[in-house]
């Protein structure tokens, strides 16, 4: 089973990288970019075939390592097959 995990900064947490990207887009002539937030995208391949077990394991992985929940949120997407 394959999972896609998105790790994003919580609202209110300053994202200087996002701000720098926003400025660079402005410099390239892209007007009207009102905000950029940068995050992480992580793909995880699992041997597990039971969906519920996979979801539980992925949630633990996010809380223990993949995200720092002081500043980050995470969202898990699991492939159907």
């Amino acid at each position: 089973m394959k999972a896609r995990i998105k790790v994003t900064l919580k609202n209110g947490v300053l994202d200087p990288q996002g701000k720098a990207i926003q400025h660079a887009l402005g410099a390239l002539g892209f007007d009207g970019v009102e905000g950029v937030r940068q995050g992480k995208f992580i793909e995880v391949e699992l041997a597990e075939t039971d969906r519920a077990k996979a979801e539980a394991a992925l949630d633990e992985m996010c809380r223990q390592l993949l995200a720092n929940t002081v500043i980050e949120n995470y969202a898990i997407e699991l492939d159907e097959k």
């Binding site: 947490v13 300053l14 200087p16 720098a20 390592l65 720092n68 500043i71």
Partner: protein, 222 residues
């Protein structure tokens, strides 16, 4: 004072730390490899600076889950003093031994220079040889030193005197909240700081302002 310095792949300040500790305590510290699972019997454990695991995922994230870290946490529980410097501070935050997180410097630049520090609380095991409010010189070298925690945590840290060190007014190199440079855990035996006192030890460094930090621990464990 018996001490140990934890070494990870990518640590690069462990030699400076070993030398500083030996010079001040008169006893050669043990260097402990991250893959070990036991610590020698020591009074102080130091997590040194560097770029453990290349800062992959987040600074300190992988090192915080290294084999040796449960032993460091257990030592902290027993009351052993634990000091994290720079990447060591980031690692201690990632393990949860200290609250909060060190984020990317507000201006996105790696900063390598000397700053002035202010001893915000001289009544700790790590700062007692400084005077309250004493301003002293110390180098910093980091890209992620921007201390952040939620409002309630900051309020607690401030209210409980757990901000040990601040960047002196106008000399905050990374945008950290309340100019925080170093914080204590609740019990007062774990301290994390971004600046490098181990590099302000010898006259050859041009300044010896960092000595008092190690002398503080030396006195505290005596």
């Amino acid at each position: 004072m018996k001490s140990a310095v934890i070494v990870f792949p990518g640590s690069n300040r462990e030699r400076d730390m070993l030398n500083a500790l030996e010079m001040i305590s008169g006893t050669r510290p043990a260097a402990v490899w991250h893959a070990d699972s036991e610590l020698p019997d020591v009074d102080l454990v130091v997590v040194p600076g560097g770029f453990s695991y290349g800062d992959y995922l987040r600074t300190g994230a992988i090192a915080a889950r290294a084999h040796i870290m449960p032993a460091v946490a257990k030592a902290a529980e027993r009351g052993v003093r634990v000091l994290g410097v720079c990447n060591g501070f980031q690692i201690l935050c990632e393990t949860g031994l200290l609250p909060g997180v060190l984020m990317r410097n507000a201006d996105l630049k790696f900063v390598c220079r000397e700053v002035m520090l202010e001893t915000a609380n001289a009544d700790t095991d790590f700062t007692r040889k400084y005077a309250q409010g004493q301003v002293w010189r110390c180098p910093v070298a980091h890209g992620e030193g921007n201390y952040f925690a939620d409002e309630a945590t900051i309020e607690r840290l401030e209210g409980e005197g757990r901000v040990g060190l601040r960047y002196a007014k106008g000399d905050n190199p990374n945008g950290s909240i309340n100019d925080i440079a170093g914080i204590l855990n609740e019990r007062g035996n774990v301290f994390g700081m971004m600046p490098h006192p181990e590099n302000m030890i010898e006259e050859l460094n041009g300044c010896t302002d960092g000595r008092a930090l190690f002398e503080s621990v030396l006195e505290a464990v005596a």
